[in-house]
Amino acid sequence: MAVREMTKLTLGPIAYHWSAETRRDFYARIADEAPVDEVYLGEVICSKRAPFHEPDLSTTIERLERAGKTVILSSLAEVMLKRERKAMEMLCATDGLEIEINNAAGLFARGRRPHRLGPFMNVYNEATIAWMAGQGATHVCLPGEMPATAISVAAQAARDLGLGVEVQVFGRASLAVSARCYHARAHGRTKDNCGFVCEKDPDGMPLRTADDRPILRVNGIQTQSESYVDLLPETERLVADGVTHLRLMPQAVNMAAVASAFRAALDGRLALSDAEASLRDLCGGTSFSNGFYHGRAGYRRIASAATA
């Protein structure tokens, strides 16, 4: 399984408004215990949250790098206001660390200097990959709703151009972003006077349908899936199709243990069924899904031959 051992595990940016202290503890544990190769840092969802954790950023970077992790700085997904445009401009001026761009405003600011493309960049196909590669992209994280057939073609195209290819394999799927804050709305507030109510929901605010089925999670301006995406059973095919990086999205569970389960399965040290059982234990009652990957409704869990 030499190929799999080359496959990198990454930790995506924290989507939620975790307190500065929670983040410090979280990344300390990641540095010490999580077998991830690369860690994405930075506020992607809401520009109002950034000031809360920016003071710790350099310490966190240092801590992670000391533990042998590569750190990449992720940009905002939505750029509209002056402070957001400024934040993007500053991020794109970064030297020394890689950056991941999630909005076309960043492509403008970055020019042809090297950069990664985040999942909000809507890189769906080989034509767009070829265009982006010509503009300095070195790595692409594909949109979470892409099915295996498209991932395979896109990954091959990206590899042929020397780009890294990343797919989210764990955590809630990002389903939508908006200019409106739904956390604020739920509490009778607006985005400008939100009171940071989103901090109360470290794994998102659950929405249930009128017939009481859990369906979505609200995270500020973002809408996420209720289920955690779990592509552990599909990792072998992902790797065979040319995907080089597997992304774990931080959820309010033991992420070091989640990473260990994925790493052990990738390295062949743990049977897939055992790794899957371990993931199940770590995630409590949260349902798992892989529908997008199989070209079906995203919330579905499609049984895979690989789990047998």
Binding site: M80, F120, N125, E126, W131, A150, A176, D192, T223
Partner: protein, 332 residues
Amino acid sequence: MNTAELICPAGTPAALRTAVDAGADAVYCGFQDATNARNFPGLNFTPEELRESVAYAHAKGAKVLLTLNTYPPAGKVDLWRQAADTGARLGIDAFIVADMGVADYVARSHRGIRLHLSVQAAASSPEAIRYYCEHFGVKRVVLPRILTIPEIREVRKEVPCEIETFIFGNHGLMVEGRCSLTNYLTGQSTNMDGVCSPASDVEYTRHDDGSISSQLAGFTIDCFGPDEKAGYPTICKGRYTAPHRSEGYYAFEEPVSLNLSRLLPELIDAGVNAFKIEGRQRSKSYVREVVSAFRHAVDDIRAGRSANVADLVALTEGQKQTQGAFETKKWR
């Protein structure tokens, strides 16, 4: 003063002729496949229908804009390229695109035809817009429905292209081109397949008390009481419960449509070059009524008269209208 064009929807050739006759400066439409974001059953144009429609529009001085505003999944890009080639051959006046691969292809292969950036590209800052202008020669950007008028004015000053804003119709809540809510429940993608709450997955159930519930792929999206007005069965207009909202509430937005008829002079003053009416999925009755109303309004403003737009609330979702983000930042 700049004279704003009226850009009108056409889901069928009959709707296109209706829009042109009602005074559209341009109509936008798409083929019967995934290359456009209104890939709905029984809607849109065959190449032959588009050929006849272009002739009809051009004979009456109206332009035809072809929507190629979805994102081709890897392995299927040729469908979008062929659609662009067909459109060019049939004499359309501009392409409306979102995907960079598609934009790059059109910019290289059909240099003589104008390129408009779809709202599906979600370019909401001067920098993002300038990226598309500089690299693909985009001549006009359709702005997301999230900016206030003062913000639109600022954007206009900083971009080298025309800007188009929506003035009426469906009020999308999510950033366009970044929404996979439909795919999460149905397995059909808004970005890749051009669908939103596909009818094939929609079911309405009438209850004994006269209320009606709407379901998408078996998930209840909303339940309208006997006297309540209804909306589309879209996830972003659904009613849900949250831990502290056990009564059920519209977590994203209630059924409502955008109507900026009162803001037209301000929008023109802010430098908006074109007004877009949403609704390719609507009937030609809707097209006739809405286009006529806004034609008169824009003509009045051009002539220096105060515009008096007919009441269109009966055509709106939930029979309710909003000025959304255009009116106030508090919408956010």
